[in-house]
């Protein structure tokens, strides 16, 4: 969870000061801020569970690509604003479902973080839903751009709903939900929003994977980390 919010927060923060309209500058900064806040909570918890004395900063700034477990969707480039918003909408829609389930987690800290995050993410989803609909059902150009954003990102949806061995373990302990169980609700939301946005859901069931498992990220993640981690790496003895 923390890697997803960290990497997506980074991507969103790349928009700082160059959004299409001032209200979006504010909204994107706010989204990034929420995601970085959630990252701190998740990664601190992960560090505690790991028990090797690593805090959120150590996990964020001192791991290499292969130790990241974010889904590939969040490391996709910003592209134009349409691609950024479509990526955010797809993530928000998954994120809200997953967090909702996590609020019932057997792990009290997990449930508490989920509770707090859920409020923020519900707002994100409202906003991105409106924007996807607005731009999909806007001008001919905005429609075309939103459709190609959707086509571009569609194969990255599936990974969010894959179940792996870590999921199995967490499901059996009641910590986390079965990701596959969240797909139906996601799909019906997606269909509903796409219909309002006059966008067409692509054919095909192919889904990229390798991010969540850490086995094969995209080349983009390394560049994100080079930027994100340079300062910590260059001055390893400093506190900030």
């Amino acid at each position: 969870m923390g890697d997803n919010t960290l990497v997506l927060g980074h991507r969103v923060s790349e928009w700082c000061g160059v959004a299409p309209v001032l209200e979006e500058d504010i909204a994107l900064a706010n989204t990034a801020l929420d995601l970085i806040g959630q990252t701190t909570l998740w990664l601190n918890l992960a560090g505690e569970v790991e028990g090797k004395g690593r805090d959120a900063d150590a996990l964020a700034f001192r791991r290499d690509v292969w130790d990241f477990h974010n889904v590939l969707l969040v490391e996709q480039p910003n592209g134009d604003f349409g691609q950024t918003i479509m990526r955010q909408f797809l993530f928000d829609a998954w994120h809200r479902g997953y967090l909702t389930a996590l609020t019932g987690s057997s792990h009290t800290q997990v449930a508490a973080i989920a509770e707090k995050s859920l409020k923020e993410v519900t707002y994100h989803l409202e906003r991105t839903t409106d924007t996807v609909i607005g731009l999909g059902d806007g001008t001919e150009e905005s429609h075309k751009r939103m459709q190609s954003a959707l086509d571009r990102l569609y194969p990255y949806i599936g990974e969010m709903f894959f179940k792996d061995a870590v999921d199995e373990a967490m499901i059996s302990e009641g910590i986390a939900p079965d990701p596959t169980s969240l797909r139906a609700a996601f799909d019906s939301l997606l269909d509903e929003v796409l219909a309002k946005a006059t966008l067409t859901r692509p054919d095909g069931t192919f889904a990229h994977k390798g991010g969540k498992s850490g086995q094969r990220h995209s080349e983009h993640l390394g560049h994100i980390l080079a930027q994100m981690q340079w300062l910590q790496r260059a001055y390893p003895d400093a506190t900030w």
Partner: protein, 312 residues
Amino acid sequence: MDPEERAFQERINAGGKIEPKDWMPEGYRKTLIRQIGQHAHSEIVGQLPEGNWITRAPTLERKAILLAKVQDEAGHGLYLYCAAETLGVSRDQLTRDLLTGRMKYSSIFNYPTLTWADMGAVGWLVDGAAIMNQVPLQRTSYGPYARAMVRICKEESFHQRQGFDIMMKMVNGTEAQRRMAQDALNRFWYPSLMMFGPSDAESVHSAQSMAWKIKMNTNDELRQKFVDQTVPQAEYLGLTVPDEHLKWNETRGHYDFSEPDWDEFFDVLQGNGPCSTDRMEARNMAWDEGRWVREGLLAHAEKKRARKMAAE
């Protein structure tokens, strides 16, 4: 002075506020539009030098603080554009004037942020200078502007403390961090002094603006105040202000200090600041590449309105 204008000036003299629907002289309106517009543009362009370090912030907490700050700046831009709109000029018009270079923004944002210590220096010095300029403007004669400044000043002083806090961490850190801090002060000292504008002798429009209470203090007054406040802070940090002529003047009860290089200031004003091109490229690109988004959202809003009307 005609009676209307006299009544207007007397109201100001008495400490009254001018509101959007009140009569006002054309010069007052124009000067305010220029001043508020430039201030708004400064907030917008001011996102860029700090935005430059968000993706490279050293801790998650620092990243969050910086994001929040940049978000505040965009918010300030928004209030100020709204204040300007009450004077009958649209945000789009002001934006176009910025992008074509007809309107300016604070020269300070044409300087680059090169190390993490610059995030400290910008907060400490640049926000410090901005507050020095802005606090008196809370009492400015134009109501919407004065109210916007109240809100902005509260947030700015928060930002300044955060900047000073970064500097504290730096000077108490490793040798490299201390060097960064000193280097940041070296680079931002004179540009911060320039933020108060040219010296009173060379400053145009000042007398009229002060009579209208659009400008509350002279440039030199504020600059002196800034120096007097900042030098002890630098000493507290253990940093050296890059001015060999800096000295406490017992008689004046103020610090004596060197003037910034005004040739540099006018170069920057003319678009030759170290980052002028970068800043304008970034804003123009944002505007041009955002056109389809603005048009798309507008078209959707119109469709929705039409559908709603048809349904009624």
